[in-house]
Symmetry: D2
Subunit: 356 residues, 4 copies
């Protein structure tokens, strides 16, 4: 088995897949002092060469085995289609390599579980590239929810719409909702989890799969989370509202000068515990109209932070912030939402006996 690298020498890495996402991984692993990029591997060698450009010393191959046989390679980053994640990642784990997988972790929950089990059994790092979780904005949202600064979460409304590429093999839910679901999984404070999910969708244009979808999640604290994903919108919107009992946060990812806005504005109610049942209907409600604060955020590429976290997880042997288990929880939500979609929008309870 490939020895766990120590912090003083760079980790040998290979990127598998030179398609849409691969080039971003190549660029960020090259820029990191914690890694040494050894290979870019793609079935289409010419594509891999184009990605590296005409001035690169990085090796190119179409042969995964060649990469996995290289003892200088201690870790891989997989950016191939979801349907191939199981095979590629399993091969890498079995070759003793640490594994980073592009979202979603695998094509199904069961496939994802096999990867988690394999990595566990071998004591290797398995990490899911939930890139958004590493943006300065989402890291701050997590902090605000975990620290209690927003109070208890009442509702989350997320919109991710755009004129998106209609995918051949997956619907809009599997294409876009992993972002929102991984963010949800990442920022929820300990003890608050999704308990049920429903999904509605439509295929207006006759594409053979949903191009517009709405997810509704019930959370364990009674809150509601709602996600709107859409390939057909001519305007691009990436906004989420986190309604808390103390403050409400608005995240507008397309407004670089004010990505986060925290409103000390909202509705107060007397605590239900202090009131008798009779009074519940005449509950005292008051309005707060306070200031808004837009915190200064460092501008740092999320992928760079993700790459650092991968290095940290490998060298310390502790789980990454977005480890295989988080990828598995997202898969469970996706799979259940898909079932609801085909069942006409029924609210489906999540399996309580699930592994993750």
């Amino acid at each position: 088995m490939t020895p766990t690298p120590n912090a003083s020498e760079p980790i040998g890495i290979a990127v598998i897949g030179a398609g849409y996402w691969g080039p971003n991984l190549v660029r960020n692993f090259q820029a990191s002092t914690r890694f040494r990029l050894r290979w870019l591997c793609d079935l289409d060698v010419e594509r891999a060469r184009r990605v590296l450009g005409g001035y690169s010393t990085v090796q190119v191959t179409a042969d995964l085995d060649e990469v996995l046989a290289d003892p200088r390679v201690q870790a891989v980053a997989i950016a191939t289609p979801a349907g191939t994640h199981l095979t590629v990642a399993l091969a890498a784990l079995r070759a003793g390599k640490h594994v980073l997988v592009e979202k979603p972790l695998a094509a199904t929950y069961d496939e994802g579980r096999r990867l988690v089990e394999e990595a566990d059994a071998r004591g290797l790092t398995l990490m899911c590239d939930h890139t958004y979780c590493y943006t300065p904005a989402v890291l701050r949202i997590r902090e605000l929810l975990h620290s209690g600064e927003l109070g208890e979460l009442h509702f989350l409304d997320s919109v991710r719409i755009n004129l998106g590429l209609v995918q051949r093999d997956i619907d809009v839910l599997w294409d876009l909702a992993p972002h929102d679901l991984s963010i949800l999984d990442f920022v929820l404070p300990p003890g608050v989890t999704p308990v049920a999910v429903a999904a509605h969708g439509a295929d207006g244009i006759g594409a053979g799969r949903a191009c517009v979808a709405y997810l509704t999640l019930q959370l364990s604290n009674g809150a509601i989370a709602h996600i709107h994903v859409n390939w057909l919108s001519p305007v691009k919107i990436r906004t989420a509202i986190f309604g808390g009992s103390k403050r409400t946060l608005v995240w507008d990812d397309l407004n670089p000068s004010q990505r986060l806005a925290i409103y000390d504005r909202g509705v107060d109610v007397a605590s239900p515990d202090e009131l008798g049942d009779e009074q519940r209907r005449d509950i005292l409600i008051s309005y707060r109209s306070g200031d808004m604060v837009a915190p200064a955020l460092t501008e740092r590429e999320a992928l760079r932070t993700m790459v650092d976290e991968y290095a940290r997880a490998i060298t310390t042997g502790t789980p990454a912030l977005t480890d295989g288990r988080s990828g598995l929880r997202v898969l469970e939500l996706l799979q259940t939402a898909s079932r609801s979609l085909t069942e006409g929008g029924t609210m489906i309870k999540l399996n309580e006996g699930r592994m993750a």
Copy 2:
């Protein structure tokens, strides 16, 4: 019975209710040459006086009977709480007065139906003040959908959120969704109708009623309509996207310089009819990336246009654009959505044998 007025003399009108909406009606009926405002009636006479101000010649009373007995009054406009609409409107119709009712038409579908039947039986105008339908923006949207300029409707996504007054007697769905549902009813081209509705909601703050709600409607042409209403958002959003097969329209009601934007941008697919079943999955999809046009709109207060339409309906004896029946259709949608809300979000078919 009060004779139908002819176009040359103003219609005597009384406004019933001097609360939140009444003052707007008072102002607009006073500004119209088609009406002569005779009374402002409210149980709280002092409130009525304050609404008129210290310089008015309009009469004030707490006694509805006094108003209805006045032969100079040919029509009334009712802006009292929804629970009183049946009683007040029925009394007015029975006194031979034309009736305009603030939305919603009545507290229940059955009450609404009694009003429609009463007006029909007496040959009187019954109109519902679906104010938004008379904005220049919605009138234009209707035109664009009816004329086919947007093509066939694929999806409608409407968001109406704000820090709203938590109502004592109704939830956010009954408070805000009538706007979106009446607009939907108004703009849909002939032959396209809602066929089923589901609603999810949450009462995060313990107010005893839903403060956040999501409605999903299936339309008869396979399209989806989705409405997000929310009392707890610190930011105010009033946006709707109408995705059509030819063009997509974005309505941002809070952007006065660009309320409507029509995008010649979208996704084209080869007609499903031209393809065999096998080909459906490999359907040819292409992207259009065209210009956006923001049409110039006249700035005109919607209530003024609504008041004109009331006069037109009364004098011609033809139904108003938002007549009692449209109010009834909105009530059916609201009532069904409410049922879905209590049933955990089930998709419920609308009654096909319904009257309207």
Copy 3:
């Protein structure tokens, strides 16, 4: 002479001029308990009647003398063209009435001075309706600059552009810049005053007067103020940036949800006093990148606050916040800017021996 009213009874008021601005004054004086509107006076009596509408008890006349002879009238509000301000206001002051004048105070500095002297001599209130000064936003800006929260003012940049009505008798500078100049006069902390002004302009469309103008003002503390006014812009912009040594404030008057934004973000330099001349060029500069705060503002119509201030000035006998002298200072700036415009943009010192 009309006795100064005491606070317990309403002040009898007459509005002179029923054109563009008059109706707003009529509405606000009617809504105020501190005033009793007696007359609306306009050479065109029909226009005055239309403004009041068909339900008003307020008297109408074309005869100013009739108004001034009415002992119930203690104060007037003048909204006639600037060229008539001297005659009308002088007549009112000589009849012992308090006077509020729409901006600008008069057509020339000398005319304005005659009004100030006349009011002084008679101990009457002379106030200029610099409406913007009474918006919650400008009142807050004044507070922030006077209290030192923004630090010392370094620069002010104001943009007020729109597709404006090309005026027959005045250029864009006299039409729009009074707003910005009165705001500048209102918010500058004690001791900081304009010392010189330059103006550039253009009449692109051949209208016979400048339709686009730029004003540059030097302030006594070395700061610069710049104003862009423009009748030809298809987009409406009303933004001002107040750059202070501690914080920078951005006022966007067309963004009701965030009119003011205070940035704790900027450039710090070591104090010049601590450095020798040699060091001035290698001065230590550091950047702060702090949060932004958008303070909650009460939404209150500026004219209502202005009307209250008029009542306060009359009843206490103390100068209004925007008294005749402030109107005079604005006139001096306008007149000097006009001279600079005709002289090709020369920077002209303001008369230090000026009265105000």
Copy 4:
């Protein structure tokens, strides 16, 4: 002399300067099939190495002579401080290399002229990297102004403000205004040229040089152009309005979904030629309130297009769109504006006998 390359083989290029701008040039020359990057040259070799990263085959040197002696190098791209442009570019031209220079062309007009003359004498390409001119937005604006679609230009208002790095050696005018002036030079239709320039500025923070500046330019057709550049603004604005006789264009470079908006909205006047002198003051003015069109723009990196244009100029031997002469015209404007700044804002005529 290095032979002019033919279109079929890549042009050997060296980038001189690995500071702020150099890395962008390196990236784009590497991505272009028209060039082959041979050297990155910087006095600080380590910095050059860091720019190339740990996987590059490109050669690094601190010795300009080594680069210029390399016969594989046919062209250079200079991204060193402006004060060194003359020396470096002259050496390159004398070595027979084509030269691309970062803006501004040189530190003074006279230095710039020496470069233009040297390149002319040797028949070599001299190009200035006015990057903004190669954005899809500016290319479209040029097209719209040259084709007459906007009509005659009446005014141009450009705002480029941000929290910018206070430069050690140059003021805000020399730092930012080259962008706006090169754009102006680029888009003005044939026959319309600047004839005079004035500049006002301030150094609020005691930085020893202007941090805020306003330029006013008179154009030969009577139009006005105004430029606001500012290092001290906490908000970033990059907007320009081009007011034409037929349409007005608004360019918001920070709004990727709607960078250009063309308004068919404005003010019409009867042609002055049709009117006698007497009538000029009572000129007939009418308002148009038309639609707005936001044209679809290709998203393409400007530097890539600039690099293509450099290759085109070299291989065809014809001047680049932003050749040395355009760089020289921008220098004349900058130098004259600087003089006006020190002279307190005087409007200074541009030298009519100038070379360019």
